[in-house]
């Protein structure tokens, strides 16, 4: 090897090693990753004790990885390389047909947590059945895309264990409480039910399920023509896209705005925020566009509508309920949405205090199976 060639190589090597080192040192730390929707690790404090027991070292490496320059681009490069190898999945996400990115939820339904959550929910329903009556209680766990959109998965992809789990949940509940949202969705599986790049269901899918539920509950069954369906965002890239860092498809986010006027107020977490619209339009300018509903996850959202009804609904839910509940506005004089992951008061006290007449439990199936806070249902 000639000397000149050696120096060329050494130069390239030094640019890589020292260049990235300098870049990582100069780049100011970010607090939060909008793409990944999570707080990033910060520079840990240097203390003798944490150095000796290895905590500092572990935290420092996490900090370095989280704050690495061009983090999103690296993640995208990795995913692109996996796709170039004809991989049908990356990080437990299928590259499905029609541009769908579909989470596998491997193991979510067979875990101990899943079994325990199923028991907690059954106990909760048994406890409150005498008070509400089964006809005023509904549990709906919305199947995830991997279940409903099975036909779009890559050939020979392993079947998901979700359906079996949901049957177990249903069997453990008191008679008449379970609402089979999966059956409704399966009937419409060729329509746009889920976002291609986000883990939520689309508002249209929620509307289909609401229609069926309203019919069963004896509510007014709305039709699409009662709403102005407005595309609030046409360039939505959601949480699943963020995990992969590549750009596949862009989603549209539709809002169903009732044509007739409904008057209501919305209180978020007590008096923290009072508003006359469910929708937080500022979220549409951020990455997390699904937060247009209620401004994202809140511990307690209270909706009070001007209506003839004197029924009061408690919704125990995750974010899948956000695009569903607005359809029920006029059926109840009060709807409280409680997210037990964030709600730190006693649920039993709230139930006594507010005198609810109806109860709805609405989660996505995987979210429910993996939730670690459901013990609070019995609190």
């Amino acid at each position: 090897m000639s000397r000149k060639r050696s120096w060329n190589t050494i130069l390239v090597f030094c640019i890589l090693i020292f260049g990235f080192t300098a870049a990582t040192l100069l780049k100011p730390s970010s607090e939060f990753s909008e793409t990944e929707n999570r707080a990033l690790a910060q520079m840990p404090k240097m203390e003798l004790e944490s150095i000796l027991n290895g905590d500092f070292e572990a935290d420092y490496e996490e900090y370095l990885t989280d704050q690495f320059v061009l983090r999103d681009a690296w993640i995208g490069l990795k995913t692109a390389s996996e796709r170039a190898q004809f991989r049908q999945e990356s990080k437990d996400i299928y590259f499905a047909e029609d541009g769908y990115l579909i989470e596998k939820h491997t193991g979510a339904f067979t875990s101990e947590q899943a079994a325990q959550n199923q028991k907690l929910l059954a106990q909760f329903c048994e406890r409150y059945e005498p008070q509400f009556g089964a006809e005023h209680m509904t549990v709906m766990l919305i199947p995830n895309a991997v279940d409903i959109l099975e036909d779009l998965l890559p050939p020979f992809a392993a079947p998901c264990e979700q359906e079996g789990y949901l049957t177990q949940v249903q069997d453990a509940l008191p008679e008449g409480v379970w609402f089979d949202a999966g059956a409704v969705l399966r009937e419409h599986k060729d329509e746009e039910l889920y976002y291609r790049t986000d883990h939520h269901w689309k508002t249209g899918a929620a509307f289909l399920v609401y229609q069926e539920w309203a019919r069963e509950q004896g509510f007014v069954v709305p039709s699409e023509s009662d709403y102005e369906i407005r595309t609030a965002a046409g360039d939505f890239e959601g949480t699943i896209q963020a995990k992969l860092g590549i750009h596949t498809a862009k989603d549209t986010l539709e809002l169903y705005l009732p044509k007739k006027d409904i008057f209501y107020t919305m209180q978020i977490n007590g008096a923290e925020k009072i508003s006359y619209s469910l929708y937080d339009e500022t979220a549409l300018d951020t990455r997390d566009k699904y937060a247009v509903y209620f401004g994202g996850n809140q511990a307690l959202v209270r909706l009070k509508a001007r209506t003839d009804s004197d029924r009061r609904l408690l919704v125990l839910k995750d974010s899948y309920a956000h695009c569903f509940v607005p359809f029920a506005l006029e059926e109840f004089e009060q709807i409280d949405l409680v997210d037990v992951r964030y709600y730190n008061q006693k649920l039993s006290e709230l139930i006594v205090q507010e005198g609810y007449t109806d109860l709805l439990v609405l989660y996505n199936a995987a979210g429910f199976a993996e939730d670690v806070s459901l013990a609070k249902l019995l609190g």
Partner: protein
């Protein structure tokens, strides 16, 4: 610390390179020593004391042995050597094997002694063997005594080979420790070798490991034969790429600091017999056991039964060196028996087979060997072996087999081709064609290594799986 981490690439490596090359020549071993200590202490500082003790024992051992030899007191020298070896082996024995012994005694007698639950000091098996080889070689007159504690410390702790080898014998780098000339050519050689190792580890070994993990978590009882073999093949390839990548990176880093370590792997999966396999796999370990155990025991220049005994002793020790567990002893014995069989039973006949069959024979036993190796729990190992031979009646393959195969086909091709000489040959042919066109050669080689580097960084930034297999040895 491991080489395949952002911390190493973008904190440690630039710092050590910078200071090493700024420092005047007499201080360079000191720079290496200090950085190596930081490298070792990162994440587990306590055991650094143990390593320092081990260094001091063999350092003084070497000086005393040399002192005695100079005064022609061979007996005294032997005594010193014995003491220093016993101390070194006791440290290794205590920290690596205490729980194994206690557990085995408990299992045999039901004594119910409590386990010590000591964390295994990283690299202890490697550095103990290095320090022992030094004192022994001084005694044998094969190595010069090293009176400079800093140079000796730098030898033992030298971060490129500290935690996973190759096991560098002191006599092979004595001259380099005293006087070495770093050069741009050697540094470049080091860069190339390091990049190859990094790519092999991050892009190939880790992904092969992820495939093995995917299959290993499945229910063995319903594992079709072909899926079981696919899993074992993935582990077989992971182990080679993981370990040989580490040696590549070690050798490459050595070059960057002007050292030449001996090769540790020579395409082991191209072997046509188990005997050949062990000449190509983890060469520095095989050499160590040959020089310090097998030959001192008499090697093959003894009666037949002693020769057999020597081989079995060496191979059971080799097995146990890999881990404090019965499966490793069995794995070592397995190879001891296979080597004996090749020596005395079917070695000649094997050579007359078509070479494809010889390869098949060798890989079959090597893979079964890894089946013993990978499961600490021998019951689990046997269950997996049952799946390999279809004893559960789970069929030959299913949809999942097809899914796993076509998802990993490119990876598997890279892995299989990568364990042969083909890539090196192709690379050389390409460079040969570009001969005389300096710029073209520079551009092509640099582009290749930059691409490998950038892809590896991408996999490290987004790391969900980056274990290091030889860490526990």
């Amino acid at each position: 610390m491991v080489f395949s981490s952002l911390l190493f690439l973008f904190r440690f490596l630039p710092a050590v390179l910078l200071l090493y090359y700024i420092a005047p020549r007499p201080l360079r071993n000191l720079v290496l020593l200090l950085f190596s200590l930081v490298f070792y202490a990162w994440g587990e500082p306590v055991y650094i004391v143990l390593m320092l003790v081990s260094i001091l024992v063999s350092y003084t051992g070497g000086i005393l042995v040399d002192w005695c030899l100079r005064r022609h007191k061979r007996g005294a020298a032997k005594a010193v050597l014995a003491v220093s070896s016993v101390v070194s082996l006791s440290l290794l024995g205590f920290f690596k094997y205490a729980d194994f012994v206690i557990g085995s005694v408990n299992a045999l007698t039901g004594a119910g002694m409590e386990l010590l639950q000591l964390a295994l000091p990283i690299g202890i098996s490697f550095y103990t063997f290095q320090t022992m080889s030094y004192t022994i070689d001084v005694y044998r007159g094969e190595a010069k005594v090293q009176k400079n504690l800093i140079s000796f410390g730098a030898y033992v702790t030298m971060f490129p080979q500290l935690i996973a080898g190759p096991i560098v014998q002191y006599k092979t780098i004595d001259a380099q420790l005293r006087m070495r000339r770093e050069s741009a050519e050697q540094f470049t050689e080091g860069i190339h070798r390091f990049m190859i190792g990094l790519g092999k580890k991050v892009l190939l070994a880790n992904n092969a490991g992820a495939l093995w993990d995917k299959i290993n978590v499945l229910e063995y009882g319903s594992l079709p034969v072909s899926t079981a073999w696919l899993g074992l093949a993935a582990y077989t390839l992971q182990l080679y790429f993981d370990f040989s990548a580490y040696s590549d990176m070690a050798i490459g880093l050595g070059h960057m600091f002007g050292f030449r370590f001996l090769e540790n792997f020579n395409y082991p999966y191209l072997s046509k017999s188990i005997t050949e396999f062990w000449r190509r796999w983890h060469i520095s370990l095989g050499t160590w056991f040959r020089e310090y155990v097998y030959i001192p025991l008499g090697g093959n220049r003894v009666t037949l039964w002693k020769h057999v005994r020597n081989l079995l002793v060496v191979w059971i020790l080799t097995g146990i060196w890999h881990g404090a567990n019965w499966n490793f002893a069995v794995w070592g014995l397995y190879y001891g028996l296979l080597l004996l069989a090749e020596k005395f039973l079917w070695g000649r006949r094997l050579q007359r087979l078509p070479s494809a069959l010889q390869h098949l024979y060798c890989m079959f036993f090597v893979m079964l060997g890894w089946n013993l190796f990978v499961f600490d729990d021998m019951g689990k190992g046997l269950s997996y072996m049952k799946a390999l031979f279809g004893l559960y009646g789970a069929g030959f393959g299913n949809g999942e087999t097809i899914y796993l195969l076509y998802n990993h086909v490119v990876l598997l091709l890279f892995l299989i081709i990568g364990s042969t000489q083909l890539p090196a040959k192709l690379g050389n042919r390409l460079l040969g064609r570009l001969k005389g066109r300096e710029t073209a050669v520079t551009v092509v080689t640099n582009l290749f290594y930059v691409a490998v580097f950038l892809l590896s960084v991408a996999y490290l930034v987004d790391a969900s799986y980056n274990p290091f297999l030889y860490f526990r040895f």
